[in-house]
Amino acid sequence: MHLGMVIDLKRCVGCQACTIACKSENGTPPEVLFTKVLEQVAGEYPIVKKKFIPVLCNHCEDAPCVRVCPTGATQKREDGIVLVDHQKCIGCRACYVACPYKNRIFLKKGSLKKGYFGKQLTPFEQVKYPKWQEGVVVKCTFCVERVDQGLDPACVQTCPADARIFGDLSNPESKVSRLIRQRGGYQPLSEDNTEPSVYYLE
């Protein structure tokens, strides 16, 4: 099995529901976003074109972050999900710099001491924050806890336009494989040979 995601750029409406769903699912501190939707604009008024580009960890097959990690904290599971073991991470940020997609986040010292509403953590934050550690690198896990239960990642489930599709890339009959084949799905920065597990459809 090789889990991956297809993002249909024609469907994305830039609502950031995936961004919020991810934050809600993972309970990440302020300024920590595992996924977000970027905007890209071309042309000048009145001839203007705008595109929304959802970005997240690409869970690359040949992930530079796995290669450069000096401690083995960043590892790839058999199903292709790249995870960071917070207990092993020393916070050297070699992975952060090596990721061509800049989809890793360093949890600075003090980032877990204050929440969205000042120094007092909300009950939600009190429940969610203990799973994080300061001084380590964090990133999207494809919502591994949900995936292990047979569910889709939170961003996929939430997307109102069905722009994100999650599935098994190694199965030629899966929806993701068919979409890639039929619509010419392409990987971001494919020239870097990292073999991302996230594909985009134009």
């Binding site: 950031q16 300024e31 977000k36 939707v37 970027l38 905007e39 890209q40 604009v41 071309a42 042309g43 001839i47 074109k49 595109k51 580009i53 970005v55 530079p64 796995v66 290669r67 450069v68 990690c69 000096p70 401690t71 083995g72 904290a73 092993k88 991470c89 020393i90 916070g91 050297c92 940020r93 070699a94 952060y96 710099v97 090596a98 990721c99 061509p100 997609y101 800049k102 360093f106 949890l107 600075k108 010292k109 550690q133 300061e134 001084g135 380590v136 690198v137 971001p188 920065l189 020239e191 870097d192 040979n193 990292t194 985009y200």
Partner: protein, 292 residues
């Protein structure tokens, strides 16, 4: 692409993205690693016991300290030794460790003994790795095209040798070290290394003019943008041109004060060139340019 794609920060806009994580402390660690290893190598070459000791201390305290200060979890630093098979961070850490241990044995043993030769050889080889591994570390990932070039280890090696030569001359002129080779040879070597470094920096920058759009954006920031002033004044002006002119026209004949000034100028330039190369690192946009 360079003209229309913006340079973005944390805003939700697609474009070139500036590297922000590796800056002052990592530049300091690279700096201390290179000058410490360079001084150690030059001290092996010139037979300076004090120089070798200082080189070791600069690597251990300067480089090691800067790395520890930078780590998010310094108490787990030993885990950084775990994966030398694929990680240049781990390889550099191992090289530093071996250099420190072998170097300490080399300094402790009587000169000329078999153990002294062996420890010196091992320490010298590991010092060479400490001097250049930063270049391989930066070169290893395709993420930042400015760094993803074979010129990086070359740049590190020549800067390390230059730093080592300048510091050795400094120690000699301040009466802190006696060496087995003539000082004039070292002075000439410093001039040759300064010219070589100017050429290597020039070639490196020229190679970037034919690189990807992100590398060109980095180059723009360095030579025409925000970082142009410190680049021309500190990294090139003070670090290479002023140092070269002083070393060529005055040199050791000017006395310890001039040698001290040359050394200080060289070190300032050395720190700033790598600091600036780190600061202007730019990531490529995730997807290509949007067209109408």
């Amino acid at each position: 692409m360079t003209k229309s794609m913006p340079l973005v920060g944390s805003e939700f806009v697609s474009g070139f993205r500036l590297q922000t994580e590796w800056a002052t402390l990592i530049a300091a660690a690279f700096f201390f690693g290179k000058i410490g290893a360079g001084l150690f190598l030059m001290s092996l070459f010139t037979g300076s016991w004090l120089g070798a000791l200082l080189g070791l201390l600069i690597v251990l305290i300067g480089k090691g300290g800067a790395h520890l200060l930078y780590l998010g979890r310094p108490e787990r630093f030993w885990r950084g030794l775990t994966k030398p098979g694929t990680s240049w961070v781990a390889r550099g850490f191992w090289a530093m460790l071996i250099m420190t241990v072998a170097g300490a044995i080399f300094l402790a043993l009587p000169a000329g003994s078999a153990g002294w030769w062996t420890a010196g050889l091992i320490a010298g080889l590991s010092a060479f790795i400490v001097a250049i591994y930063d270049g391989f570390l930066l070169n290893a990932s395709p993420s930042i095209p400015l760094w993803n070039t074979a010129m990086m280890p070359v740049l590190c090696l020549f800067y390390s040798l230059l730093g080592g030569t300048s510091l050795t001359l400094f120690l000699i002129n301040f009466g802190l070290a006696s060496v087995t080779i003539q000082e004039v040879f070292l002075s000439n070597m410093e001039i040759v290394l300064l010219i070589t470094n100017l050429i290597v920096v020039g070639l490196y920058l020229i190679s970037m003019t034919h690189a990807t759009a992100a590398a060109k954006e980095s180059l723009r920031l360095l030579v025409r943008g925000t970082y142009a002033l410190p680049f021309y004044s500190l990294a090139i002006g003070v670090g290479l041109v002023f140092t070269l002119l002083m070393a060529y026209f005055v040199g050791a004949a000017g006395g310890p004060g001039v040698v001290g000034l040359i050394t200080a100028a060289d070190l300032v330039g050395h720190y700033f060139i790598f600091f600036l190369l780190l600061r202007v690192g730019v990531y490529k946009p995730v997807l290509g340019q949007l067209t109408i």
